[in-house]
């Protein structure tokens, strides 16, 4: 049995190498195609991870914990009290043992008005922990004037450049923040501008003010409270595990015990949609590539079969069954696809590695940044290598090899032996 398989495999291999030029041309099409596929997938994964990372850093992390109802009302009434904030922080501390957590941040966010001596504008005021927020958010990297908030700050404000312009604010200018406090009354807080940022996103630049959370809590009369506890993970791939881990530690299944745990997909559905749409584009590209590569293999193997009808007749005359004759042809297609696949994936990984080292700089296309779902995306994309993608590419190759070989195999197994032996005589 093994000897028979060996001779069939030998025939497949030698027949593949026999038409070296044709095999090489077909293989090169597959190699380039698969290298492109592998590289595109890695770049796509890198871009998505970057979108998500940038998005969640300006937003509420990969996973966020908040009070039930806050997502829909955004009201201070739907806040986490100090006990639930402490529970959420303990849950994050516990999660670190099993999931790679980069950092976490506690926010107290409220809508209100920002007033300068000359004007007033609606704003979103975020009370943040300056040290934790600097590690969490990229907002400090978007500073255009002054400095970011520091842990020792009490009355400092970090404001968007658009807001500063419209309110005529400069570094050191006084700013009055007005919002509804926890008691229901209107509360005011005087702060001074210590830094100005520009993200390029009008909504953020024109309407965001960050102040220390301690100041915000005093101002709003919510000691120890927060509207969210956000968790930043090393990779968005860990989101599911983090979500499960936090829910288990909080003993919640979605807010029953006073803390709702949400993923970035739930908090930023537009970001999720953008990733899905981009993925769809990739799979459309994959289908086109699949068709091209499959046709190349089909053409090579079928031409080879049609030129060798007499040989198949001889094989059957010598005692091979039709199935074994077909196995030779099938083996040729799978071999061609397999060898090309290995080379293609290797080339793709090598190219990806080069891009990974230097990053793919798209600033010539997008300038200094593109905006997506309220986040500014870095124009330099760093590809991500994921072993699952190699498995996916390998599966792609196997499926192509099998599908493209089926028809030539069928042709080879259906020849009329007596006619084939007369062929070209």
């Amino acid at each position: 049995m093994m000897a028979r398989l060996r001779i069939l495999a030998r025939l497949s291999l030698r027949n593949t190498l026999r038409q070296a030029r044709r095999s090489a041309l077909t293989a090169s099409a597959m190699v380039v195609g698969l290298a492109l596929l592998t590289m595109a997938r890695a770049i796509g994964d890198g871009a998505h991870e970057q979108w998500i990372s940038d998005g969640v850093r300006l937003g509420l992390g990969h996973v966020t914990m908040e009070a039930p109802g806050f997502a829909s009302t955004g009201s201070l009434d739907d806040r986490l009290d100090s006990a639930r904030v402490a529970a959420a922080e303990r849950a994050v501390a516990g999660l670190r043992a099993s999931v790679p957590v980069v950092t976490s941040a506690v926010d107290l966010t409220v809508s209100g008005l920002a007033s300068s001596p000359g004007s007033s504008l609606p704003v979103r005021v975020e009370g943040v922990e300056p040290g934790a927020e600097a590690a969490f958010s990229k907002l400090d990297e978007r500073r255009v004037e002054g400095r970011y908030l520091e842990p020792s700050d009490r009355l400092a404000a970090y404001v968007g450049a658009g807001l500063a312009d419209r309110l005529g604010l400069e570094l050191g200018s006084r700013l009055v923040l007005t919002a509804q406090g926890a008691s229901g009354g209107v509360a005011e807080q005087l702060v001074r501008v210590r830094g100005v940022f520009r993200t390029g996103i009008p909504d953020v630049d024109d309407g965001l003010v960050q102040i220390p959370i301690a100041t915000a809590r005093r101002w709003l009369g919510t000691p120890g409270a927060a509207t969210s506890v956000a968790v930043l993970l090393r990779s968005s791939q860990e989101t599911g595990r983090a979500l499960d881990g936090l829910r288990a530690r909080l003993g919640t299944g979605g807010g029953a015990d006073g803390v709702t745990v949400l993923s970035w997909r739930q908090v930023s559905p537009e970001l999720e949609s953008a990733v899905r749409i981009d993925d769809f584009g990739f799979y459309a590209f994959m289908v086109v590539l699949f068709a091209i590569v499959a046709l190349a293999v089909l053409n090579a193997v079928l031409m080879s079969v049609l030129n060798r009808r007499r040989e198949f007749g001889v094989l059957e005359a010598l005692g091979l069954t039709r199935g074994q004759t077909g196995a030779v042809v099938f083996g040729e297609g799978v071999l061609l696809a397999g060898l090309s696949g290995v080379l293609g994936v290797a080339l793709g990984l090598a190219t990806t590695w080069l891009l990974w080292r230097h990053g793919l700089d798209l600033s010539a296309l997008y300038g200094q940044g593109i905006s997506l779902s309220g986040a500014v995306i870095d124009p330099v994309i760093v590809p991500i290598f994921r072993p699952a993608r190699v498995v996916e590419a390998a599966g792609f190759v196997v499926v192509i090899g099998i599908l493209a070989s089926l028809y030539p195999t069928r042709v080879a197994t259906r020849i009329d032996v007596a006619e084939a032996l007369k062929f070209d005589r």
């Binding site: 028979r4 007499r310 040989e311 001889v314 094989l315 010598l318 005692g319 032996v417 007596a418 032996l421």
Partner: protein, 256 residues
């Protein structure tokens, strides 16, 4: 037509599943092969009944289109008869499945084709040992049998050459080696000397005669070559798909 001792076989010997005496290598009964084509069907073989005894050396002659190659294909199970039956090694080919036919060809029948039909991607040694390999013989035994045979037929030293680097005569000798190395009971040879010069043709016929004489292998040739006809123990003349004459020239062969 040569010879004087005309011998017409008895096609009715034995029943449908047992082809009669054990010395019978091949038997056909009421064999027809009709090719459906325009403007009219072609009757390549017509109601042909014959029997070939084991160890015989039979030449089938006849003009082009007389049905020689078709008959060989029918005897080898390479094509199915339109009507009638064929027995080889005691088995009715018309009742065998494709897999059983393949096994019968592998174990009982050797083919020699006019166009050699060696597999171009295999060396002379690999071509010759192909059927042995399919039959699962150990490498050492396969190689020994092929080397011995190659020495006998003058192919010593050419084991590693691919067919493209062999002359026509050498290729045909490899083809003969491939057919005989497994010592099948029956070898069907379709104009084996047609493309060979006379010296090579004579040498090859000598090899086949020796195999017939020493190993009792049954040979059935289709041929136009007078040299083959002269050496045949039995000469079957086909015309329009029928046996016109079936003679055993006196003094040739011991069985009929």
């Amino acid at each position: 037509m040569r010879g004087s001792d005309t011998h017409v076989t008895d096609p009715t010997a034995g029943d449908r599943t047992t082809p009669g005496p054990s010395a019978t290598a091949v038997r056909t009964e009421g064999l027809w092969k009709i090719y459906e084509q325009e403007p009219a069907p072609v009757e390549a073989v017509r109601d042909l009944s014959m029997e070939v005894r084991a160890g015989d050396f039979v030449a089938m002659a006849g003009p082009s289109g007389s049905g020689k190659t078709t008959l060989l294909n029918l005897l080898g199970g390479l094509t199915a008869p339109t009507r009638g039956r064929v027995w080889v090694a005691g088995r009715d080919l018309t009742e065998l499945s494709g897999r059983e036919l393949a096994r019968l060809r592998l174990e009982h029948i050797g083919f020699v084709f006019q166009a050699y039909n060696l597999l171009p991607v295999l060396s002379a040694m690999e071509n010759a040992e192909f059927t042995l390999l399919l039959r699962g013989l150990p490498t050492a035994e396969r190689r020994e049998r092929v080397r011995t045979l190659f020495r006998e037929i003058g192919l010593d030293g050419l084991e590693d050459r691919r067919p493209g680097r062999l002359s026509g005569g050498q290729q045909q000798r490899v083809a003969v080696a491939r057919a005989v190395v497994g010592e099948p009971a029956l070898i069907l040879a379709d104009e084996p000397t047609a493309n060979l010069d006379s010296a090579t043709g004579d040498a090859l016929l000598g090899v086949m005669e020796r195999l017939n004489h020493e190993r009792g292998v049954t040979f059935i040739f289709s041929t136009h070559d007078p040299r083959v006809m002269e050496r045949a123990h039995r000469l079957v003349h086909l015309v329009d798909g029928r046996i016109e004459s079936d003679v055993r020239p006196s003094g040739r062969g011991s069985t009929a």
